[in-house]
Structures are given as C-alpha cells and as structure tokens.
Symmetry: C2
Subunit: 179 residues, 2 copies
DNA sequence: AAAAATATGTCAACATGGCTGACATAAATT
DNA sequence: AATTTATGTCAGCCATGTTGACATATTTTT
C-alpha cells in the first residue's frame, strides 16, 4: 500500500494513464523515496561525531553551526549569520553569548559601520572548529572518493539542485572562498 | 586563517611535508568544506516544505519522521522504529500517542509475538504522508535530473558512503522495498 | 512450573534550542 | 531632527530531546 499510495493522491509527477497499476511510476517513486531516506540517514550519521565532541564542551549543535560559519566567514555580521542559520536573533543570542563568555568567539565593532558587531573565532574557537570539522572532513573525503571519478562533481550538482532555486546563488557564494 | 587552520591541527589527511604553505592540501580542504556546507544547506531546504505542511496539522518534524517510516514499513514494531530514529522510547511515545489519538497511526498486537505493537498508518495517515512526501519527491526528482546521466548513481553511492560503515547494510535494507 | 528476559508503556523531571512579543540603544541615513 | 537600521535583551512559551524508575504482558530459559 505505502509506496504506491505515496504517488497516487499526490498525482503531480509523471502519471501516464491513471487507473491501472503503473509499474514505471511505482519504480520511479521508489527511487525517489530511497533518495529521500538516504538524505535522512546520511545527515543523521553526518552530525553524530560532532555531537559527541560538543558534549565534552557542554555545547550543542547550535553552537557547532555558529562556530562553523563564523570560522568560515571571519568578520561576519550578526545579520548575515542569522540569514544563514534561519533562526531568530533571540535564539542566536543565547548560543552566541555562551560562546563569547567562554572565549570561543569574539566581537569587534565594525570599522565602516559602527553599529555592526563583527564576529571572529578566538584561537580556542579555531581549535574547537578544527576538532569538529576533522571527522566531517574525513567522512566526506571518503564518501566523495566512493563516488568515483566524476562522482564528486555529480554529487555536488545534485546537492546544489536540491536547494530552493532562489537560494542557489547565495549558497554558492557562501560556500566558495578564495584562499 | 580559517580554511588552512581547519586542516593543520587535525593533521590526519594528506599532509606531504609540514611547515610551508601547502596549496594542494588547502584546496583539498576547501573542496571538503564546501561539501560539508552543501549537506547543511541541502538538508535545511529539504525539510522546509514539509515543515510548513506539518504546521497546519500542529505537528512537527518528529511526527513527520514517524509517519514516514511507519508508512514505508507497515507493521513496523516500536523497537525497530526506535532503532531507525535513534531517540528514546519516551520521546517516541509522546509523538506516537498524539498520532494515534488523532487517528493517523494505529497499532495492532503482533500475531506471532503478542508483546509487539505493530504500527500502521490509517487512511488519514497515508494521506498526510502523501502530502508531506510530494514536495520532497519533486525536489529530489529535479535534483537527480540535474546530475545528468550517471549522476544519480554517483549521488547515491556518495550518500551511502557518507554513512557509518557499520550502518550501511542496515540502511540499504531499510530503504529498499520490493513492490 | 518458576525464573528470567523481552517488548512495550508510563510517570516525572529536566535541558536544549526553537519561537513570539516588547522594548532599548547606538549609529547611520534621510 | 526624524527615521531607519543593526544589535541586544528580558520574559515566557513550546517542541522534542534526555535520564531514571517502575509496571505489565508475554515469551524464553532453566
């Protein structure tokens, strides 16, 4: 019942001639559902190692995200960070305050616009980020290698296409930094 | 500082001759970090549409996960569901109770082992799942198409390789159903 | 048959990290 | 001078995760 039912009432995808059992459409749905679940399981394992490391600091995933994006974007403003994380400033303020109090993040008043508080990792913050990132990099390196030659490019294209179209340019800009 | 520092202290990957600036290693790290971020942004957008649908039912992501895996695995036991979701039975009990009370999930005593409570979607549950799955299927269909021929296979391989090695056989079994 | 293990449920308490709403301040812009 | 912007903060609520303890029915083991 389930995999078939998942397509029928929705009825948005390819649906050649309704009524009779439709093997191609069912196989199509099956493929897509497996992909959906791969995303779920992949993400689940992907965050598991950082979660353990964070526990030793009494930090959570929210701290990880802040440390990651501040580390990757030194001098990022609060507004920019909110836009990436898609949370409210009150939620961000809580974890950011803890990170600052405990010396992992520091703020500097913007030079051009002195209303801004630009965010930077301290050296302790950089070390924490390294520890959090190491297992994720190992995992991703290994996974991309498994895709074979060309697999990495295809994987990236698919992941990018998974984004809302309106977000793609922004995300491409955020993820790519020139050293 | 950031992308380079992200590799140095970890020092597990390719690290030819330490000391001097290492352009290849930095480019390698950059590639991997971009992949890490693609996973973050991809997952963020991936759950955004279901979240909106769920809000209309006053349900959350936790309900989505239960409905999804019960729908895909009719007759699944509580223990099996706990193993997939990796949460405590107390956490599961809360959302499961709500789903049962509101008529989206039903339980049947196991025939062979009468201690088990086997879980099924009701017709309302099936309809909810269809609504939740539709935008995700559209999104994934579109994304896989963007990978070009062969891209889908490569994408799947990479996603599977992203899992903890010990989980791969189990996950492969969970995601693949014969109709 | 009795004992132990298993599958599930439940009560209670707590933590994290989302959210809304209201209000404050300093700096930039109009 | 007035308004807008960037940020901070207080207060409280909600969803969903956690631990620990204990209860019940059923199956398995001894």
């Amino acid at each position: 019942m389930r995999p078939a039912a998942a397509m029928e009432p929705a009825g948005k995808g390819a649906k050649p001639h309704a009524g009779r059992p439709d093997a191609p459409a069912a196989a199509d749905a099956e493929r897509l559902i497996e992909a959906i679940e791969l995303l779920f399981f992949g993400y689940r394992d992907f965050v598991s190692e950082p979660d353990e490391i964070l526990a030793a600091y009494e930090f959570g995933r929210a701290h990880h995200r802040v440390v990651h994006f501040v580390g990757r974007n030194p001098g990022i403003t609060v507004a920019e960070l909110l836009d990436i994380l898609r949370i409210t400033k009150q939620s961000l303020a809580r974890v950011l305050r803890q990170l600052i109090e405990r010396g992992f993040v520091e703020q500097k008043t913007g030079e051009k616009d002195r209303r801004q508080r630009r965010l930077y990792l301290t050296s302790a913050g950089g070390e924490l980020l390294d520890r959090l990132m190491a297992p994720q990099m190992d995992r991703v390196r290994n996974a991309l290698a498994a895709g074979g030659p060309g697999g990495e490019v295809a994987w990236r294209e698919v992941m990018l296409a998974l984004l809302d179209e309106e977000h793609r340019p922004e995300v491409e800009q955020i993820i790519s930094k020139e050293p």
